[in-house]
């Protein structure tokens, strides 16, 4: 039994933690949150230079070929540090989509640029505030052109390339669009977490090409979402763990009624419950990592469990971190809200907990014996 990351990956994690502690302080996160810059360009450049963007991309496409376990440990640290960069959109979503569904030419065209950080990618699914039902998409892909509106698209304002989920002639298509093409207009959109930028993108007969061959679009979308769910789960576990540590540290230093508030069982038990939720989420994420790295048949189930567990743990940790901080936790000055924003943002990025629970049970119904 060796259900853990190897020493080399732990060393990578420690390295990432050290770098981000220095380079990605909360001042850096706040600069993006409060300022005009959509992401921290200097940090993004450093991350790319260290090879993190190319971690799970094969060497033949310009990556480091570390595999997906390497990407998992990096994700945990990026989540813990709230890194205000388009890493998840470009790597977990766009690069994974191209890796999973792209033709050789598409891989050659985009993966080296995504691996080096020279290009930023994203995945555009949502069409406004409602479920993005793959069978009822309004965005269409016909005769090599894309028309419709996607909202919100994570990092859509800064991305160079988008994988757009659209209605084709025979079911849904994942269409690759160069966002600098004619027929693409976009503008940033305000969200609960301005440390991660989002956009509205309108396509008017924009030139695009289907990812891979015709057909299988829905299966490909599910595959990309499953793979991304595991990677996001690691970011979320990192954020939950950091929220728990903040709450713990504050409970030790804040005194009320002549004693540290961390000596009251009302606080201790609250923190113990966050710990339990975070550990369950971590264990589910580990299983997801195993399934992702092996491309195992269990991936859809493992990914759904990892996502549900991580969604719930991070939001619980982030909201109770504010509660433990009391009134101070409600101020702009305290960092609690940075995690609160990010927790809710990440819980929706691939679809809500509700959708993933339904998806999980659907898998279990068909797996039948998996229970």
């Amino acid at each position: 039994m060796n259900f853990d990351f190897g020493d080399d990956l732990k060393a990578l994690r420690d390295h990432a933690r050290r770098v981000l502690r220095e380079r990605c302080t909360s001042a850096v996160v706040r600069r993006v949150l409060e300022g005009p810059e959509p992401y921290d360009k200097a940090l993004w450049k450093d991350i790319a230079a260290m090879g993190w963007t190319g971690a799970a991309i094969a060497e033949e496409y310009g990556g480091a070929g570390l595999g997906h376990l390497g990407l998992c440990v990096l994700a945990e640290e990026l989540g813990s540090a709230l890194a205000p960069v388009p890493f998840s959109s470009s790597i977990y979503l766009a690069a994974e989509a191209v890796l999973s569904g792209g033709s050789e030419a598409q891989k050659k065209a985009w993966l080296p640029k995504l691996a080096s950080g020279e290009a930023i990618g994203t995945l555009a699914v949502a069409e406004g505030p409602a479920k993005a039902n793959p069978r009822k998409l309004r965005t269409t892909f016909r005769n090599g052109t894309l028309s419709g509106e996607k909202l919100p698209v994570p990092d859509g304002d800064v991305a160079d390339v988008a994988i757009v989920v659209a209605q084709g002639d025979r079911g849904i298509v994942l269409a690759v669009v160069d966002l600098k093409s004619a027929g693409v207009t976009r503008a940033p959109v305000a969200t609960i977490d301005p440390s991660r930028s989002h956009a509205r993108i309108v396509f008017a007969n924009a030139p695009a090409e289907a990812l891979g061959g015709p057909g299988g679009g829905e299966a490909l979308l599910h595959r990309v979402q499953d793979r991304a769910a595991v990677l996001f789960a690691f970011e979320q576990v990192g954020g939950a763990q950091r929220s728990l540590e903040m709450a713990r540290d504050y409970a030790l230093e804040r005194y009320a009624f002549g004693r540290p508030i961390g000596s009251f069982q009302a606080i201790k038990h609250k923190l113990a419950d966050i710990y339990v939720a975070t550990e369950l989420a971590r264990s589910n994420a580990y299983y997801g990592a195993w399934a992702l790295a092996r491309d195992a048949a269990e991936l859809p189930l493992a990914a759904a469990a990892a996502r549900i567990s991580a969604n719930e743990a991070y939001f619980q940790a982030a909201k109770e971190n504010i509660q433990v901080h009391g009134g101070m936790g409600f101020t702009w000055e305290a960092d609690c809200h940075l995690y609160y924003r990010r927790a809710k943002l990440l819980s929706l990025v691939l679809g809500s907990t509700r959708l993933w629970k339904d998806r999980l049970i659907t898998h279990l119904e068909s797996a039948n014996a998996a229970l």
Partner: protein, 411 residues
């Protein structure tokens, strides 16, 4: 990252498998429920003792015990592997857990070599069964509040008082006992620890009828019970320290689950019809099933992380105790929700009429104990908060007062 055994582990597993295949019956598949076998039933105990003797002969009892105790001198991961393999077979379990897991390690740690030689092997081979006499009516989570009195009388002690929640007192041969010898000392300082012969005159055992109707536990009354001083473990007044040895020796078990699981309620939801079709198609039902599945999976893989630590020879910390905290509540909520699906018929406990032979109804009535026994939910949260997260212990109003000056409520 893998789930594979190391070559050494694989070899040990193969040996355990061969032993079990030769000596035990495989459990029928499809029988999901593992009820707590009836330790109270003399026939069951006979079978349990015979099985234990076989295990001891083959070296699979006391896997982690040192060789001087009669054990195998093996590792915790070997114990886990054996338990995993044994779980596939229908063998009587549970009769020796307390004795081998808690009592005998305390005897071997604090007793003389003669004590060790006299008791360890007989416990290991199942000849003698042990119980633990710790909790009292006024000392549960706050164990050190116990007030069973031990008074010195020459080379004996005279014990008076009452213990409670003693599993197996009625059939055990020996027990370990914590008493208070000094009521004027501070709470944790006036305790003294013994082992006793359960057939000693002056011991009266009364079964406790639980809310489930069963009686797994007893009250044990002591009236002028004479205990030789040679059966004292540790110094006079050092009983707390000795007790901690007992409590810390709870072995790492994979815990044969008692009661229903997510797969059972999943099956039920397939069969039960609601207005709009099978319950399994109802969104509220799916939401609950997903919660339980996700937490069950989380525990499963947390256990694998613990096993990984054991496999490397590391000692898992109190973090491995989250399983108890999560499972107790889950059992109770699964049982209650499954009964809701049966609507008014959910109240029926006749095994011929209720689904799964009334397992959900039975679990409803047994699950409260899963949240109390062996450390209540509240104590488990304190342990996590203090030992894992490093939060301060509770402020204690009883720490520096003599025991007989402490305020007491209704006992």
């Amino acid at each position: 990252m893998d789930f594979d055994d190391t070559p050494e582990e694989a070899e040990f597993r193969a040996g355990a498998h061969a032993f079990l295949e030769k000596n035990a019956q495989r459990r029928e598949s499809g029988v999901g429920m593992v009820y707590r076998a009836g330790n109270e039933d003399p026939e069951f105990r006979k079978r349990a003792k015979a099985w234990q003797a076989k295990k001891a002969d083959a070296g699979y009892a006391g896997i982690t015990w040192p060789k001087e105790w009669g054990g195998r001198g093996g590792t915790p991961i070997q114990q886990v592997i054996y338990d995993q393999e044994e779980a596939k077979y229908a063998v009587p379990r549970g009769l020796f857990d307390i004795g081998l897991g808690m009592c005998i390690p305390t005897i071997c740690t604090w007793g003389t070599p003669e004590h060790r030689d006299r008791f360890a092997r007989k416990a290991l081979s199942g000849e003698e069964v042990w119980c633990q006499l710790f909790s009292e009516p006024a000392a549960g989570s706050d164990l050190a509040g116990l007030r069973t009195r031990a008074e010195r009388d020459g080379d004996h002690w005279v014990v008076n008082g009452q213990k409670i929640w003693t599993s197996g007192a009625q059939y055990c041969d020996f027990g370990v006992l914590v008493t208070r010898n000094d009521f004027a000392a501070r709470k944790h300082k006036g305790l003294t620890y013994f082992f006793i012969d359960m057939k000693s005159p002056g011991i009266e055992i009364r079964p406790i009828k639980q809310i489930s109707g069963a009686s797994h536990f007893n009250e044990v009354f002591f009236t002028d019970v004479r205990v030789p001083d040679s059966q004292r473990l540790g110094g006079v007044g050092e009983g707390w320290k000795v007790s901690l040895t007992t409590l810390m020796n709870e072995r790492y078990t994979i815990g044969g689950r008692i009661g229903v699981g997510v797969e059972d309620v999943f099956e039920l939801a397939r069969k039960i019809e609601l207005d709009d079709g099978p319950a399994l198609k109802n969104e509220a039902v799916r939401d609950k099933l997903a919660d339980w599945y996700v937490s069950s999976q989380g525990l499963k893989y947390s256990h694998f992380r613990t096993m990984t630590a054991l496999s490397r020879g590391e000692t898992p910390g109190p973090e491995s105790s989250i399983g108890k905290l999560v499972n107790g509540t889950k059992l109770q909520s699964i049982a209650a929700f499954a009964m809701d699906l049966m609507e008014q018929g959910g109240v029926i406990t006749d095994p011929d009429l209720a689904p799964l032979a009334a397992a959900f109804q039975q679990t409803l009535m047994t699950s409260p104990s899963a949240r109390i026994a062996g450390g209540s939910d509240e104590i488990m949260r304190n342990i996590i908060a203090e030992r894992v997260l490093g939060l301060p212990p509770d402020i204690r109003v009883d720490k520096d007062l003599p025991f007989n000056k402490l305020p007491t409520g209704k006992a």
